[in-house]
């Protein structure tokens, strides 16, 4: 896993350094890019692609 700082390029948030070639997932949390790499024994935070609709009473 690698943390990459965010920099502002124009009006766009960009990586402060290149993403490693063995990256398998990149998660930006509003502050930094967390790069998950092959071989990491870490679970990538799962986000439901399609959230369940709110239940009605």
């Amino acid at each position: 896993m690698k943390i990459i700082k965010a920099v502002l390029v124009g009006d766009c948030i960009d990586y402060a350094e290149p993403v490693p070639k063995d990256a398998i997932a990149v998660v930006f949390d509003g502050d930094v890019f967390t790069v998950y790499q092959s071989g990491d024994d870490l679970e990538i935070p799962a986000k439901p692609a399609f959230p369940e609709p709110a239940k009605t009473p």
């Binding site: 502002l8 390029v9 124009g10 009006d11 766009c12 948030i13 960009d14 990586y15 993403v19 070639k21 990256a23 398998i24 997932a25 990149v26 998660v27 930006f28 949390d29 509003g30 502050d31 790069v35 998950y36 986000k47 439901p48 692609a49 399609f50 959230p51």
Partner: protein
């Protein structure tokens, strides 16, 4: 027993930087770019062109998700190397996006030459209730002029089947064929509460 075998051109495997000049090899010479998704390129005596008219040298290797910001975020920035684009080529790109949360809208952009580069591919938004988005766009090159080609945005709108029209001029970018350039896929959420996930993206070169 002798059997007739169709002759196939030999394919030489090399990194793109080690390709010889297209003008230095006979027309029809085939090279495989080992560092660009094993895409295959054929010399026409002047330029390297995608074998069969289309190759996919760039496929996003890492899924990208973003949350916690309403700023535009540079998600994927593959570098198109010098010499990969040529007169009358097309650059086609696509993406698949899902969104978790329905607090705001999302905007996807395709920029030429960096995170703050020219929006040439597309700039499209989807409403707050959207949880999925698929994009496909094309920019097209014209003839060469002094080593440059002009990339012009396509698919500006669909007003008739197969025909795109626009009331404003299509975006363009001037590309120097002897130089490399990044082609940036960016995302932007209007609500920091939503999470945008790019699950797949690619770039193809056609011509």
């Amino acid at each position: 027993m002798l059997r007739a075998v169709a002759q196939q051109p030999a394919v030489t495997i090399a990194t793109w930087a080690n390709f010889p000049a297209a003008s230095s090899v006979p027309s029809g010479t085939v090279y495989m770019a080992s560092n660009y998704n094993n895409s295959e390129w054929v010399s026409d005596g002047t330029y390297w062109k995608p074998r069969g008219g289309r190759q996919r040298p760039f496929v996003m290797a890492a899924a990208v998700s973003s949350t916690g910001t309403t700023s535009e975020v540079n998600a994927w920035a593959p570098t198109i190397p010098a010499g990969m684009l040529f007169p009358m080529c097309n650059v086609e790109s696509g993406f698949v996006v899902t969104k978790t949360g329905t607090a705001g809208s999302i905007t996807m952009r395709q920029r030429y030459n960096g995170a703050a580069g020219t929006v040439v591919g597309f700039s499209g938004s989807a409403g707050t209730t959207t949880v999925g988005m698929v994009g496909l766009c094309r920019v097209s090159a014209g003839v060469a002029s002094a080593g440059n080609i002009t990339l012009t945005q396509g698919y500006s709108s669909y007003t008739a089947l197969g025909i795109g029209t626009s009331t404003s001029p299509a975006a363009t970018a001037t590309h120097t064929m002897s130089g490399a350039v990044t082609y940036n896929l960016t995302l932007q959420a209007s609500s920091a509460a939503d999470t945008i996930n790019i699950t797949n993206a690619f770039i193809e070169v056609c011509g």
